[in-house]
């Protein structure tokens, strides 16, 4: 049995946040029902195309999956269980936003086996939440968090953001304090990225360039300030007992997110739903991102029609076969995102060649510059190496 992971995409939001470039939008309940039906069709369809797999993790992401009504979430998880073989110890996560959960919903989650929740807080400062275009304030988050704990969830993540416009160390400290006080098992701390196509891009694109160039900015923190916010977060969380295990992820008592670690370890995964991406047999695919087409394909398939496609499957929009070189590059730039880096033996087992034969000179140079280190058969980035990891990781791309 091949262990695989499942990612399930729910592209619906109560309201789009101003910085968000994920594939999601505001749709009514009718559309949500149609989509979930289509999604269940795809789940069954892909299960048949991938026999002999055992699902070790499920991650329901979005969008705001917690916005779906109980019966829809029930339908999704039940379909997965009916279609795939599920490891009894599987990690099953759902992304939630404050204000979209109720104790009824949470009880349903528990009953279908959902055992990990990820709550998007972003900030404990209401002015920052407003600036980000979030649907909730800090009090609403506290209420949601309380419901989650009362429902018995013992593996909870809280998302926060650094590098927000006008964010100071004091404001960040308030957020960090508010979150760590609650003792969630896991914290993800992301630096704000100004993405094209978002209202934030229109508002802050010049500032973002200035920040990148190390110049004086207007609203965003300068590069120096952004660095300080990021470092402060790291030190604060470590002090509170949260161990950093990836660039932006911290866990207490070893409660890392197994699903996400799978991405960095290149475990095979199937992405199900609109725009979802998969890695299977060294082929990367992504589903189409037009929700109407997506539903039509599923509806055709469920009515027994054969849907022609230029790809190996009607849902796919892109399909890329990875060469050995691609796979080696990915192994490095994904694996080195983890604080404990990559194992030399894993590289050898995967590619039947010693890592030094491919990357020897690069590794030596990076070690000499202090960006990388090695210990007990593992190679990993140092603190300063992680700080500038884009620069460092790009060195692992091989010439054609």
């Amino acid at each position: 049995m091949t262990p695989i992971e499942l990612y399930i995409h729910i592209p619906f939001c109560v309201k789009k946040c101003l910085y968000c470039d994920f594939l999601s939008g505001v749709f009514d309940e009718k559309m949500q029902r149609r989509y979930v039906a289509a999604l269940c069709t795809e789940i069954k369809f892909q299960a048949k195309r991938h026999p002999g797999c055992i699902v070790s993790t499920i991650y329901v992401g979005g969008g705001t999956p917690s916005w779906l009504s109980e019966d829809l979430m029930d339908a999704i998880i039940t379909t997965v269980k009916q279609s795939f073989k599920l490891d009894p110890l599987a990690e099953i996560s759902v992304e939630c936003n404050p204000g979209t959960l109720s104790s009824e919903k949470l009880n349903l989650y528990r009953s279908v086996g959902i055992n990990r929740l990820s709550i998007g807080l972003q900030s404990a400062n209401d002015d920052e939440l407003k600036e980000l275009g979030r649907i909730h304030d800090y009090n609403r988050f506290l209420h949601t968090y309380d419901l989650v704990r009362k429902a018995g969830f013992d593996n909870v993540n809280v998302d926060i953001m650094t590098g927000l416009p006008h964010q100071t160390i004091a404001k960040l400290e308030k957020t960090l304090n508010a979150v760590t006080m609650l003792r969630p098992e896991h914290i993800s701390a992301y630096s704000l990225i100004i993405e094209k196509g978002t209202p934030f891009y229109d508002k802050y694109k010049f500032d973002a360039v200035k920040q990148q160039a190390g110049m004086q900015t207007e609203d965003l923190p300068t590069d120096e300030e952004s660095y300080n916010l990021y470092k402060f977060t790291m030190q604060y969380l470590e002090k509170k007992g949260y161990k950093r295990y990836e660039i932006s992820n911290y866990a207490r008592n070893g409660k890392i997110c197994r699903h996400n670690v799978g991405y960095w370890d290149r475990v095979p995964y199937l992405g199900l739903g609109l725009g979802a991406a998969s890695l299977f047999d060294n082929v990367r695919t992504s589903n189409i991102s037009d929700i109407y087409k997506y539903c039509e394909i599923s509806e055709a398939i469920s009515s027994g029609k054969n849907v022609p496609s230029e790809h190996s499957c009607a849902y796919y929009d892109t399909e890329e076969v990875l060469s050995k070189k691609d796979a080696m590059e990915e192994f490095m730039f994904l694996g080195l995102r983890k604080i404990d880096g990559v194992a030399r033996s894993d590289f050898y087992n995967m590619f039947a060649i010693d890592i030094e034969a491919i990357y020897g000179p690069i590794i030596t140079a990076l070690r000499n510059q202090g960006f990388m280190d090695a210990k007990e058969g593992r190679l990993f980035l140092t603190d300063i190496g992680i700080d500038v990891s884009n620069q460092v990781l790009s060195k692992f791309l091989l010439d054609k």
């Binding site: 992971e5 990612y7 992301y190 630096s191 704000l192 990225i193 160039a213 190390g214 590069d223 120096e224 952004s226 660095y227 990021y230 660039i247 932006s248 996400n260 991405y263 960095w264 995964y269 992405g271 725009g275 979802a276 991406a277 998969s278 890695l279 990367r284 992504s286 892109t318 890329e320 590059e329 990915e330 730039f333 994904l334 995102r337 510059q369 960006f371 992680i386 700080d387 500038v388 990891s389 884009n390 620069q391 990781l393 790009s394 060195k395 791309l397």
Partner: protein
């Protein structure tokens, strides 16, 4: 063809006074072109010329005009560049003419280049007829301009045509003035051949196309001809004249005509502009007087961004040199930039134009080093070297003293800005010569200035300090002893030879400081701190630091965006390839050129 019905002339003017527009209008009104064929400004046929609105290369066109006297006349109109950098081209074109039309803007009046060009025309014994252009402008004041022309230049201007080249008003007057006031060429079609080469063009099918003015004798297809200076001999394959934008073959070019010849000439060096063509079997006794020889005044290094393109750059420079006799080049090497060429130009505009032509027409990606002038270095052993590359400066212990080229500049400026312009000249180490008021509101200021001080951005500074109300021209005056030092730039403690330049010792500190500031902006942050230092000898006189990049992180990387994140990393890697590696530091190519523009804010 009856020689008395030929008029060979050019149009001279200060930049933007409407020279090319008038040329277009003449061509259009004489009917050699239909309106449909009329591309705006047909004579400026390089893309670059049209974009910049300036004429770089001389161009010629033959047109037929039926005059009021009922006779048909042949006009050979030779367009000339207006910018001070291209005096040499003007000079070449003028030698092919018998007369010149002087265009003066009815609002602006006489400007510095108006004077310079008129004097050049008079030097060539050309008859000059003034034309007052842009009389349709609300600010036009033709009476004042007539007075200026008479007072300052000393040309009769009461009856000068008052025109608008833009609207076509009174162009007929200009055509009649050409017929009635400009002389017909002289010369005996039966005499031994003397034809002056005033330009040339390389054509991949025909070989070199030689532009010439037949002064004596007749040039025919099949003639065996000799280039009097180079001694090269050829059999003429084709002769002809210039249609608008095309070559029109004919049987012969008799004395007085302007046209072209081809002779399967493959070697560009065999046909020098300024040389005289004669018959091999019946040569003229002596060549025509050559043109005023002009040496490059500004030198810089040109390097291919991609080292493998070095031979392509050489080929391209050779081809450009064919059409641009003032361009000179020789191979050189730089530690920072590899193999390239030290090139000589007439001025900074000339440099920029050659650079752009290499990039556009020959598709080359170039790195340009700071331009400098030709210094004379007198050594303690009694010898003198002409220094075009700062890297070749001998050890200070071997130098007795140095000299730098000096120009005499004439600046015409409205009286409101005299103070500002004098300050500028003073800052640039100018020596005041004189000032005279041409009229109440305008003055002509003369200064001697080191050439070194005007090649960078003097022209821009002049324009900005006078709000555009100053014009400028200069000519070489020779050399003067000066206290000069070599300023070196060290990036991360390593000297970058391509950034070294010679500077007056009194301004070394200022320039060094500005260089460091500019480079700090240009060099992207690295993973380590980069000191940028300016040094004279072993003494560091200025320093800036490019701070180390401390944070560059992709916060999120999950299953959905791995392909996208990889592209980001690839982009980062690609960006590095376009940089020059000096030691551990990657320097963008633009940095080598941008340091010239130190006075911009």
């Amino acid at each position: 063809m009856d020689q008395s019905k030929i008029r060979n002339f050019c149009i001279v003017a200060h930049i933007d006074h409407g020279k090319s527009t008038l040329a277009d209008r003449i061509i259009q009104m004489t009917g050699t072109l239909t309106d449909r064929e009329m591309q705006a400004q047909v004579l400026d046929n390089m893309d670059l010329e049209r974009e910049r609105g300036i004429t770089i290369k001389s161009q010629a066109v033959r047109i037929i005009y039926k005059a009021d006297d009922g006779q048909e006349y042949i006009f050979n109109l030779i367009d000339t560049p207006g910018h001070v950098d291209f005096n040499y081209e003007v000079s070449r074109s003028l030698a092919a003419c018998d007369g010149a039309i002087l265009v003066v803007d009815a609002a602006q009046g006489i400007e510095a280049q108006t004077l310079a060009n008129v004097y050049l025309a008079l030097d060539h014994d050309l008859d000059v007829i003034p034309v007052i252009n842009k009389i349709d402008l609300p600010s036009a004041d033709p009476e004042r301009v007539i007075e200026e022309i008479e007072d300052i230049i000393g040309l009769e201007a009461q009856d000068a045509p008052q025109i608008s080249a833009k609207t076509g008003l009174n162009i007929h007057d200009v055509l009649e003035a050409i017929v009635n006031q400009l002389p017909a060429p002289k010369g005996d079609p039966k005499a031994p051949l003397q034809a002056l080469i005033f330009d040339s063009l390389y054509d991949p099918y025909k070989g070199v196309i030689v532009f010439c003015r037949v002064k004596e004798g007749t040039l025919k297809i099949g003639d065996s001809v000799r280039m009097m200076a180079t001694g090269a001999e050829f059999d003429v394959v084709e002769v002809g004249y210039f249609g608008a934008g095309q070559f029109i073959p004919c049987d012969e070019l008799p004395a007085g005509m302007v046209g072209y010849m081809t002779a399967s000439i493959k070697n560009v060096r065999d046909t020098r502009v300024g040389d005289t063509i004669t018959h091999a079997d019946k040569p003229a006794a002596e060549p025509l007087p050559g043109y005023k020889k002009v040496n490059p005044m500004v030198y810089c290094g040109l390097y291919p961004a991609d080292g493998a393109k070095y031979p392509d750059l050489r080929d391209a420079l050779e081809k450009l040199q064919l059409n641009d006799a003032a361009l000179q080049f020789e191979p050189e090497t730089s530690i920072a930039l590899g193999f390239g060429f030290r090139c000589g130009f007439l001025g900074l505009l000339h440099l920029e134009i050659i650079q752009e032509r290499l990039e556009r027409e020959y598709n080359l990606d170039l790195v340009t080093t700071a331009p400098g002038v030709v210094y004379r270095v007198y050594k303690t052993d009694g010898t003198m070297i002409e220094l075009t590359n700062p890297s070749n400066l001998p050890d200070p212990s071997e130098i007795e003293y140095m000299e730098e080229p000096i120009v005499e500049a004439e600046i015409m400026v409205s009286s409101d800005y005299i103070g500002a312009i004098m300050d500028l000249c003073q800052e640039r180490r100018g020596q005041y010569i004189s000032m005279e008021y041409i009229e109440e509101t305008r003055a002509l200021i003369k200064y001697t200035l080191p050439l070194n001080e005007i090649i960078y951005d003097f022209f821009d500074a002049l324009k900005s300090r006078s709000r555009g109300y100053a014009s400028f021209d200069y000519e070489m005056k020779g050399y003067a002893k000066s206290d000069l030092v070599k300023l070196d730039i060290l990036i991360n403690k390593e000297e970058v030879d391509a950034l070294s330049f010679i500077v007056f010792s009194g301004t070394a500190y200022e320039r060094g400081r500005k260089m460091c500031e500019k480079l700090k902006e240009e060099i992207p942050r690295h993973l380590f701190e980069i000191p940028i230092q300016a040094a004279v000898g072993s003494k560091v006189i200025a320093r800036e630091t490019v701070k180390a990049m401390r944070k560059d992180v992709l916060a999120k990387c999950y299953g959905g965006d791995i392909s996208r994140k990889k592209k980001l990393l690839e982009k980062q890697k690609e960006g590095k390839k376009r940089m020059r590696q000096v030691g551990n530091v990657e320097i963008p190519q633009e940095a080598f050129m941008s340091v010239l523009k130190l006075d911009e804010d």
